[in-house]
């Protein structure tokens, strides 16, 4: 690691940040899903909870693991819906945010350079292949995590604010949410990066990479994450364990991506 050229890497990351910020085609889809998921949905749930006069959730709650169901069942009926959805069920769904943002940015960072015909210029610069690869990964991973975390803060404010007349206390974040935010979301972002690095190597444009990744591979990942929802809800150690598996797969994919990220291989596809 001591051989890293951090100045060069910082320059690449800063370039990618600046370019992304100015690209509506990248920014808009990147913000739309988090807005719907983290603002519109909790807002709607809060309003429904405020209008409802006692939704019977016993059937739903009885199917949840006891560790989660018990504290919710202890709440008054009007609070149960909002705590169940905002406090627990949305948490795994939230992982779509880092996954999607990281994927969009990775497609732009790798396949996008080919599409804009700027890749060759980068290859002729005095930056080591690994440094360029890690800078590109960081340039997409850091914004993905930042957007996820900022999105979560906005979500917490909206969820607690709208539901305040019903719940009368701050109920988000839960411990499960904290695991999602601190441990799983960065891991899922890295996993999305790992997939898109591979996909981008074969795609000629960012759009093609997004289509390949979005149509085939990422839904499979999301399905796997969704399948693990039950596991995540079971207990904290299992949620942490699932996160460890996500990180392990992500690091494996990124390491393989780094090994294949050579000037010779990239230039041969130009």
């Amino acid at each position: 690691m001591s051989d890293r050229d951090w100045n060069a890497m910082r320059a690449v990351v800063a370039k990618d940040f600046t370019a992304i910020r100015r690209s509506k085609a990248v920014v808009l889809p990147m913000l739309l899903v988090p807005f719907l998921l983290l603002v519109v949905l909790p807002f709607g749930i809060g309003l429904v909870a405020r209008a409802a006069h006692g939704t019977d959730l016993h059937n739903v709650l009885s199917k949840l693991p006891g560790g989660i169901a018990r504290p919710i069942l202890r709440q008054p009926p009007r609070q149960q819906l909002v705590i169940l959805v905002d406090g627990y069920l949305l948490a795994p769904l939230f992982l779509i945010v880092p996954l999607m943002v990281a994927s969009v940015l990775a497609a732009d960072a790798f396949a996008g350079e080919k599409e804009r015909r700027t890749l060759e210029g980068l290859l002729h610069l005095p930056i080591a292949e690994r440094d360029l690869f890690y800078a590109k990964v960081l340039g997409a991973w850091l914004p993905a995590v930042a957007i996820s975390w900022i999105g979560f803060v906005v979500f917490a404010v909206v969820a607690n604010g709208v539901a305040w007349p019903v719940v009368h206390r701050v109920f988000v974040p839960t411990v499960l949410w904290m695991v999602m935010i601190v441990w799983l979301a960065p891991g899922v972002a890295a996993l999305g990066m790992g997939v898109m690095v591979r996909v981008s190597a074969r795609a000629r444009t960012a759009q093609e990479a997004n289509q390949l990744g979005g149509a085939v591979i990422l839904p499979l990942i999301f399905a796997a994450v969704a399948q693990s929802t039950g596991l995540l809800l079971v207990s904290l150690p299992i949620a942490i364990g699932v996160g460890a598996i996500v990180w392990a797969v992500a690091i494996t994919l990124l390491s393989r991506g780094a090994a294949r990220f050579t000037r010779d291989r990239l230039a041969a596809t130009l």
């Binding site: 060069a8 890749l119 000037r263």
Partner: protein
């Protein structure tokens, strides 16, 4: 490697799939020399640049640029080289200054110095008025100028220019060629010019490498390449009409005449040297014959190129 060489390549070859993009390239360049890689699209010019700058690995052969092996010392080498790629490679979303500063920063130039140099280079290439605007919307000529400014920002010792004037209007072409000529003269930079414009190569380069389908057809000074191809000096006689057989025969009998053929305006005669020309004129101007002009026409780069590539040829 010859101690005076900036670039030396021996038997360089590179294959993509089953096709050889480059097959057995040998060339060298001295410090401050401008050499041309001449050839049509697909000749192997860009592949050569990529190998010499350590971006592509050769499948065969070896090279040294500035005394460094591009294959193993690529990062160190690329600090001292500059490349203008055919596409230019500007990021449309960044301003012109940002496009230059990013590359300077990656090259290790401190930010303040990078900004100062970017400003200077954009001024030099007449782009300072647009320095803070995005690259999107620049014309082809403007893009080339900004890209060239970026390639020169760090004062490279070797500069690779891939089709630097393609898509430019005549005035912009002249400006870019003036800059390239100045680089070698003023900065002592070695320039490798990839082009398919013969006039550019003829104007700027003492030596040219002619490539076709990945193979090096010839490398050297055009006059020497011509001497290898043809003996004698072609001379065109303008007689206002085709020379008749008798006159052609008289010319052929002049000592030192290697060949004589009638043309639509008179005749083309190949002589051993300039000293033979007065004898040719004497043989041609007899009786009613009018002779309007006698023009020695030594084969130029264009003749050499077309003769070697077989696309056309001079009949001498």
């Amino acid at each position: 490697m010859h101690p005076a060489s900036s670039i030396e390549a021996t038997d360089l070859a590179r294959r993509f799939g089953t096709a050889w993009a480059l097959d057995g390239l040998n060339l060298d360049a001295e410090p401050g020399e401008v050499i041309a890689l001449l050839g049509p699209n697909g000749a192997g010019k860009t592949t050569t640049v990529r190998i010499l700058d350590g971006v592509l690995d050769p499948d065969r052969g070896h090279s040294r640029v500035l005394g460094l092996d591009p294959r193993t010392q690529g990062t160190e080498l690329r600090r001292r080289t500059g490349v203008l790629t055919e596409a230019g490679g500007l990021d449309d979303r960044l301003t012109l200054t940002e496009n230059l500063v990013v590359h300077a920063r990656i090259r290790g130039i401190p930010i303040d110095e990078a900004r100062r140099r970017a400003g200077e280079m954009l001024e030099r290439f007449g782009m300072s008025a647009r320095a803070d605007r995005a690259a999107q919307g620049l014309s082809t000529g403007e893009r080339k100028r900004v890209s060239l400014a970026r390639a020169l920002l760090h004062k490279p010792e070797v500069l690779f220019l891939d089709e630097p004037t393609s898509g430019l209007d005549p005035a912009a072409t002249r400006d870019v060629l003036d800059v390239i000529a100045g680089l070698a003269d003023e900065q002592g930079a070695t320039v490798v010019l990839c082009t398919h414009f013969l006039a550019e190569a003829a104007r700027l380069c003492r030596r040219v490498a002619i490539l076709e389908a990945g193979r090096l057809l010839a490398f050297g000074e055009p006059s020497r390449l011509a001497a290898d191809l043809w003996t004698g000096l072609p001379v065109e006689l303008d007689m206002g009409g085709m020379a008749d057989d008798g006159r052609i025969e008289r010319i052929r009998q002049v000592r030192g005449v290697a060949a004589a053929q009638p043309t639509g305006q008179g005749a083309t005669v190949v002589v051993e040297s300039r000293d033979v020309i007065p004898g040719v004129v004497a043989a041609a101007v007899t009786g009613e014959t009018r002779l309007f002009s006698v023009i020695p026409r030594p084969p130029g780069l264009e003749d050499v190129y077309f003769a070697l590539t077989g696309r056309s040829g001079v009949e001498v």
